[in-house]
Symmetry: C2
Subunit: 150 residues, 2 copies
């Protein structure tokens, strides 16, 4: 093995100080945990809640559409849906027009759970919003959207 390669300490500090990825991931984990706490009594995670809401708000979305909406891999979505389907919170049916497409919709049970969760969501969302300086919020909102689309 050669000598230790020269690692610029300044560059390293730049990573810690200015890495967009690190910053976003850290915030994402912290926020996710917070919503997870709020939904735990319903045995829901933050993304499961988002998923249920997305399904209900959309009219029979496909797996692809849901994956795109939540910004996650399609195959991850497939498996996430399977978990909620096993809990009978949602159902999937083949599209009559296109045999490849599966249409997802909530069961009454899923709708009921979502209804119960909305309250916790509102409280938590308000609290999390309050943690961000009001002056910074709109720009952060816009910035996050830019990142999600980039």
């Amino acid at each position: 093995m050669e000598d230790t390669p020269s690692l610029d300490p300044l560059l390293l500090r730049a990573v810690e100080a200015s890495c967009v990825c690190l910053r976003v991931q850290r915030a994402s984990r912290a926020v996710g945990r917070r919503y997870d706490d709020a939904f735990r009594h319903l045995d829901l995670t933050n993304w499961q809640f988002s998923l249920l809401a997305a399904i209900e708000a959309s009219e029979a979305a496909s797996v692809n559409e849901l994956a795109t909406f939540l910004g996650m891999d399609r195959t991850t979505m497939t498996r996430n849906l399977a978990v909620l389907q096993r809990r009978e919170l949602l159902s999937m049916a083949q599209d009559p027009q296109d045999g490849r497409v599966k249409r997802v919709s909530l069961t009454p049970r899923g709708r009921d759970l979502l209804l119960q969760a909305l309250d916790a969501w509102r409280r938590t969302n308000d609290a999390v919003k309050a943690a961000v300086p009001a002056a910074a919020f709109p720009a952060m909102w816009q910035g996050l959207e830019s990142l999600a689309r980039s």
Copy 2:
């Protein structure tokens, strides 16, 4: 089963339009994928890069300290470290002062890989930054920090 519970469509739309969690998670996944692409030729993921950089920048950090720094669960960190240790990118040693604490440091191999990755990081970080309107960036930066601490 009762009648379908009444789900306010407006409230549902509010979730999609104003859920901080959804917004942050979506951005987080998009950004993470982007860095993952940039590091793939080195067989590194975005958080593995962040972890290597954090280890090198710190002087022999403990597992706890690294977990806190990256904002992830301590037990997740334990297992993430194990993967990199198996690849001989880092080594762990018991703290001589405190037998409970494990100190983590990079091997020469790990340091070399980090050095190689820094280039890809700088390019990607610049590109991702450029995707956010310059006027929004400082506030977003501050907002993310607030969220991570909340």
